[in-house]
Amino acid sequence: MSTRREQFEEAVFPPIVALLVALICGDLLIMSYGQSPATVYRMLLEGTWGNAYGFGQVLYKATTLTFTGLAVSLGIRAGLFNVGAESQLAAGGFLAGVVGLALWPAFPLPLAILVCIVAAAIGGGVVGAVPGYLKVKFGAHEVIVTIMLNFVVLALLNWIVADHLHVSETLHTPEIRNGAIPRLDAFIQAFHGSAANLTIVIALIAAFLVWFHLFRSKRGYDLRAVGLQPEAAEYGGVKVGATLMRAMVLSGAIAGIGGINYVLGYKQYYEEGFAGGSGFLGIAVALVGRNHPLGVVLAALFFATLSQGGLAIHAFVPKQMVDVLQGVVILAVAMSVPEVRTALRRARKPVAA
């Protein structure tokens, strides 16, 4: 059994390695465009953490990514790879938007928000339940099912919105009548114009709850046991099927709640394509955050900074550079996890006499 320190090292080193690799790749890309890396990186930081608007945008993007990252990492803890966060996010946002549309305006706001959050969780949870059921009942691999389901759910939502529920000339639903989550600029003037809203508080609460569930509750213990070694967990009395099902529904529900950031907090309507890859980026966030809620929050901030930073440097280097760097970071973490583990364990092993 490895000590806490060893676990910490194995968790933290791969992202650091990946970050260095990404920095070098970034240097090469910037130089291929004839610019100075130092200047471009400084601009990237100034445009994100250096001013209130940029920082607000980072917080806004990090909020959605925290939800999708938590969703993916909770699945991985149970040994399930949820590649469906993209459609779960969209389904959650859609149901939140529909419920917000249906609620009468006199309904008290905090309660309305709560109802919308529950609707979002149901939307994402139902989409998550399908691969969970097919896995437990028929042994269908959740990776393929979630990928295929992404296309099915997005097409279904497209049909509902485009054929039945859109405001004419647009691809979004009418504005919600209740359940709008206040923006941060209502409290802090400096954030004016940025999309950051109070959903970020809900995201942090969600991160805490996921941590508590995984590491402080019996069901979370069961979930991790199933993820590490399903046969052993079964032998230890854990109901593996039910645990997998619960993990998949929970994962989908968390991703679904992420939809409120856009639908309740930013635009106040559901719009076709609002997920825009945040579900897939959730995989990157979970990976870099090493499937720990605290790591997920930090990784979400990192990827949000990268995404917003692309806009800040666009005058000098095409913002498409950050798309490349995202791919590089994911690939580098995936490659360095087994490598770092082997290297660390070899280094720790006492030298044979």
């Binding site: 295929m148 296309f151 897939f280 498409q320 994911i330």
Partner: protein, 288 residues
């Protein structure tokens, strides 16, 4: 609806799927999960466009496209074989990387964030319905050739052995890593040809022009139960559904979104085992 135009259009829509699905079959039969097909196709499409743009020759474009697919195939191979990265993660990363790299160089080479200028393609004689395009014939021929290689050649035997039971293959002297490297490299080149066909058929590269076709190919591989010919039939089936949707436009019998769902729903049903269980190669996705 004209039956001849239905068949010709189906075949033309099927070609990118046929190439990519063949690539998927090779890699997965060797035990490497192939979710990177989309990225291989996109890279192939972009490199081919670059090649044709600078030389004017579609044949050089084809070679450039294949080379682009080879490079990305090798990245996937190094990540999954040498570094034992999770195959699914590596595949997803390569898809994101391909989107990023093609966007970045689209901007660098053509100063555009949406599309390249017009480039030459193969054929183009209207009277031939696109059948004067050698790539189309290659696409239609790739599945039978691959079936022969997989089931009749020594290399194919090694690929299947490595995908089913790498330890047993290694014990009789098969170099597991080398076979997998070759299989994934070939997979990258084949899928890239699908992208080359797309770009040259449309005479330009557009951002994210593969639009999920790589995943339809993944669906075809699974629906075809990892067999080259059955996967090709699945490709034709999916392409026929798509053609139906295009040709029935205006006559609203079923909303188009439901026809879009067909390949994905069929794959989910096949995986759930409702009509005959889809069982993958035994060692698929294992990193030792």
């Amino acid at each position: 609806m004209n039956p001849i135009s239905f068949v010709t259009q189906t075949l033309r829509i099927a070609v990118p799927y046929l190439f990519a699905a063949a690539g998927g079959v090779v890699a997965e039969r060797a035990g490497i999960i192939s979710l990177a097909l989309e990225g291989f196709m996109l890279t192939g499409a972009f490199s081919a466009t670059l090649g044709v743009h600078y030389t004017g020759s579609p044949w050089i474009g084809l070679l450039c496209g294949v080379f682009g697919g080879l490079v990305f195939g090798l990245i996937h191979a190094v990540a999954t074989i040498r570094y034992r990265a999770d195959h699914v993660v590596s595949g997803i990363a390569i898809n994101l990387l391909a989107i990023g790299v093609t966007r970045f160089f689209l901007k660098l080479a053509f100063d555009s964030s949406s599309n390249s200028p017009r480039v030459n393609g193969f054929g183009g004689n209207q009277a031939w319905y696109g059948f004067d395009n050698p790539l189309l014939w290659m696409g239609l021929g790739v599945a039978p050739v691959l079936a022969w290689v997989l089931y009749r050649s020594p290399f194919g035997l090694r690929v299947r052995a490595v995908g089913e039971h790498p330890a047993a293959a290694a014990s009789v002297g098969v170099k597991v890593g080398r076979v997998q490297y070759i299989a994934v490299a070939v997979s990258g080149m084949l899928a890239a040809l699908g992208g080359v066909f797309l770009a040259l058929d449309q005479h330009q590269f557009t951002d994210q022009m593969t639009a999920g076709r790589g995943f339809i190919a993944v669906a075809a591989v699974i629906f075809g139960r990892w067999d080259p010919v059955r996967a090709a039939i699945a490709c034709l089936l999916f392409a026929a559904a798509e053609t139906l949707q295009i040709q029935l436009q205006g006559i609203e019998i079923i909303p188009s979104q439901f026809i879009v769902m067909i390949p994905y729903l069929l794959t989910i049903i096949a995986l759930a085992g409702v009509v005959g269980r889809a069982v993958p190669p035994a060692a698929l996705g294992k990193t030792e």
